[in-house]
Amino acid sequence: MKGFPAAARETLRDSQLRRNLGKATTTIRAKRLNTIAELDDWEALRAAGSAIKARAMATLPEQLEQLEAAVTAAGGTVHWARDAAEANRIVATVAKAHGSDEVIKVKSLATDEIGLNEALAEQGIQAIETDLAELIVQLDPNDRQSHILVPAIHKNRAEIRALFERTIAKGQDLGWEATAIAEAARRHLRAKFLSVPVAVSGANFGIAETGTICVVESEGNGRMCTTLPSVLVTVMGIEKVLPQWQDLEVFLQLLPRSSTAERMNPYTSLWTGVRDDDGPREFHLVLLDNGRTEVLRDEVGRQALHCIRCSACLNVCPVYSRTGGQAYESVYPGPIGAILTPQLKGLDAAPTLPWASSLCGACYEACPVKIDIPSVLIHLRARVVREEKSRWEPERLAMDAVGGVFASRKRYETAQRLSKLGRGPLSKLPVPGWTAMRELPEVPEQTFREWWRERGAR
């Protein structure tokens, strides 16, 4: 881990990335604003989404047990995974039981979080990503995801064409038409959909009341994976549970408008256990904790678990839209990643992420479930300072000293007089980070309060 400032320094230099990302985020920002403006009850929907999530989290044990009972009653098998290793082992065991050395995957952040593909590879099982952007990232061994929804957002058409012509469309000339380039992926994937017996998915929502799992997607690959293979394994973070079927009414409006700026996403797949005459014959639901219970303990930070992975906060973020997702060194980039990653992995694993924000508030404004990301960032900064920084760290000593100065008018006014030393040759001294691009302000001859006193005396 390089930490955000160093990782961002590298990505910021990539002019192609800056161009691709700038263009993509600018376009989606405008589209999202137009789409949400169509609904006059948007703010009420946000409030409802926030309230439903808060209720689900407050009653999580009951919701999960109800979900387990409902899935089991519908013929599914529920597994509980404490951490990544347990979840990966469960998926590998199911795949092996069916003698498959390949699984096809629906785009899933939970499985990325636990490193499922790598864990399966160690067991001799190849995981094939079927989401177009995930496939693009998977085909390039040097590439990594950079966006929650569009993992290959950093790549443009020319780069994708070249990648395909090197890999799945060797020796072909795909041309410049997007449809022709996508067709190469379609041909490659269609063969897999029809032959691989085991599929792995994530879950957007899991309904406790009915045991129904919901996956929302745009390309139809998810529908293929959840219907064609005979075995389906879903890895679901425990925070994805919703109490009731009717809760979907709220979230199926909030999610597509916030993520792709669509009124409705093209494919919404819902399934409840198994059926004799349709879809997979075997369904496994893996309920993944992997740090989430710990996050729930933090009264301020826990709202990060309300996230529905729409990526609106990434798209509106002035930091993310320049650095890209790879600077966050996590499956979860952008503002939500900056509050989720340190909580899931531990503050010591990502101590710079809570500072990867100018606290501009654009994320909070956009969040469909009203996660107050700036407040959680500030809260996590305080936790890092309290739990991770030594008492003798220079910054802490400086902050303590400045705090002491501000605590007394006398010390404050003395410090103001000292600041005037900055008027002389000292004003030419470089300040790391600041003077690389900006002049320092000139320290004035007279402070405001000196003027005020002088004026009173007149």
């Binding site: 002035p318 501009c360 900006r438």
Partner: protein, 226 residues
Amino acid sequence: MRAALFVTCFNDTLFPGTGRAVVELLERLGVEVDFPEEQTCCGQMHVNSGYADQGSALARRFERVFADAEHVVSPSASCVAMVREHCPAVAERVHELTEFLVDVLEVEDVGASFPHRVAYHPTCHSLRLLQVGDRPLQLLRAVQGIDLVEIERSQECCGFGGTFAVKNADTSMAMLSDKLRHVLDTGAEVCTSADNSCLMHIGGALRRQRTGVRTVHLAEILAARE
């Protein structure tokens, strides 16, 4: 009407002209201005940097200093946002300058004249924390002689963000580069806003690049009689 000026430690020390402008402007509008000299810092830097205890001590101090004020007025949206959230004892009596002018004094035309081409930068904290809306623009539009122009993607952060500007200097500079380009594209000679902190950042780069564009706090334009 009486109002206590919360000038902010930052303006007090580095941008006294803004404090002087607020005093002149408010007095011109018939307000009697106090300046409680015990005031120092509201604690925002500590709070936002993760030093919650020190920040909270300064917030309590702020509440004591301004305990008796009927109205508190400040030329910093960012510091007012801090006080609104962290100083409940005075929160409702604290107004950012444009809020005070438009909501309390109920004026739009403050009798200013400023014959220059001006680009208004709505700062994040004025926009999204305080939600001052178009109050600054209502006031600016009424200034005589002003040629007010809009900055493209004006609502996007300039990249200051307090210690963010030095802790994440590269990212901050990338954000600033785009903001500068949009400011320069307007052809304005002056860039203004409700916060000198953002203006120190934008203005520092405008000067470094010898663009000839200067930054001026909103209060100084509203006080101007050129």
